[in-house]
Symmetry: C2
Subunit: 324 residues, 2 copies
Amino acid sequence: MTDITMIRAAAARLQGHARRTPLLSSPFLDEIAGRRVYVKPECLQHTGSFKYRGGRSAVSALDPDTRARGVIAFSSGNHAQGVALAAQQFDVPCVIIMPSDAPRLKIANTRALGAEVVLYDRAHEDRDAIGAALSGERGLTLIKPFDEPQVIAGQGTVGLEIAEDARALGIETADVLVCCGGGGLTSGIALALEAEAKGLRARPVEPEGFDDTARSLASGCIERNTRLSGSLCDAIITPQPGNLTFPIMARLCGPGLVVTEEEALRAMAHAFQRLKLVAEPGGAVALAAALFHGSEIEGEAVIATISGGNVDAATFRDALGLLD
Amino acid sequence: MTDITMIRAAAARLQGHARRTPLLSSPFLDEIAGRRVYVKPECLQHTGSFKYRGGRSAVSALDPDTRARGVIAFSSGNHAQGVALAAQQFDVPCVIIMPSDAPRLKIANTRALGAEVVLYDRAHEDRDAIGAALSGERGLTLIKPFDEPQVIAGQGTVGLEIAEDARALGIETADVLVCCGGGGLTSGIALALEAEAKGLRARPVEPEGFDDTARSLASGCIERNTRLSGSLCDAIITPQPGNLTFPIMARLCGPGLVVTEEEALRAMAHAFQRLKLVAEPGGAVALAAALFHGSEIEGEAVIATISGGNVDAATFRDALGLLD
């Protein structure tokens, strides 16, 4: 089970590899939010999302013989690129299983990072069976996207950095809003803050209609989403919180926040205009909550993660259309 | 005259105020350029451009009594916001003289940073006379945009950071491409590199039709542009290199590079897609040269500044239209 010792060890393994992202701010965002707003821009991380941290943490934690046989992941998104880059850096094989209808650019990007992309037909083939067969044959290690202790530890390094920077800024109490899918980033940050910044509280943020974590935290049991697709915030859509991540979030996190897709797009437009950052819709939900849900937030300041920036041009242009 | 001692002193005054921007990279950009590409993202600087460094350097270098009477600048762009924020931080008056047809958003942003914006009619009023009258009346100190030793020293801090990060990355020889208007940033970086990184060479980059610095470096005398407006790259358009900046550039810089507006827009699209950064057209010319003018560049790696990100949504959408 992930703990602060594992997170610190992951930070040591990521040193010199993951980018140390800063906390950014703008007086214009402070004015909208009615309090000081700080943004943790993980869109600037390698591969354009925080997922590289978890991927590198997990791959670097394997014993050398196991690692040399290679790794495998199921993902058409940010996790695929994070694991692929980590495997490439260790010069070990990497197989990524993706649906054959995944966006061409994502397939090309993952291949360009040296991964072997295996496509399957969502309607007629069993993803898990394909993965199990390949793993058995080649001795590949599965890197899960969030319910994996070393992945949570890697994402937790974001929390260590937030704690350090908040201390330097003199921030004593703040909600730390985290874009939340399966809860790897949220639970990792929550563990880091528990150890390093008692006055900071992690809170998951999700898009409307896909608020499984907020409902799970409210009920105390793991709740599922009714729909599993059809959100602009596709990067952070999962069926339910993880079996490992949920107990951590239930113990440490404040209530979940829920924003609309339009609020996420408006937050993207503000990140463009005021921070010069590119956020993807799912990566902008925490900033949307910071800007537009101030009455649900506590503390002198608010810290919002931007979890990723892998957005297509058409969606970004739609977001910019909301300015003025 | 600006020298390395002044740049180091400026760095000390900027410490804890200017953002320490990193060098960013992407394997996808390396592939386009045919060599390693590193980007210095000054679009992430306060006010969205490197101009805050020069503004803060100049305002902080004034003796306290002079500073208390206030400062004045002529600018409708990034220099205005840089000086305004610096003055606001010292809690001293700031007057910015802008043409009455400046974009509403730029006027609003400058006022929001606490400056008094004085508008003049470009056709019928004399900007310099208005400025001189106000300065005389109130004892304001003029902060020039580039031909001012403490401004050059402030911009030179970008060069100190590039030298430090290049050393850590093991880069021994590289062209450092700099978006160039009046030459404040280019000459400041050139002075810093002369002292701190002998194998790195600063080179100005300008948009086609406004290549006064490239032509001046080629002829050895200050040359003027024929046109003074009408470029998408408005942030870096000046009539000619400065009287202080040109001799520094002539002594230290490699030949100037010239890119088309379309290349600048395409570089903006790549910065969006691969670095998750928002660049303005003038701020993207150096990256455009790195990506599309490789045959004119020397060295194992190339370092390109992104000088600013203050671009309107419509122009940015045009740039994104060039992807795929």
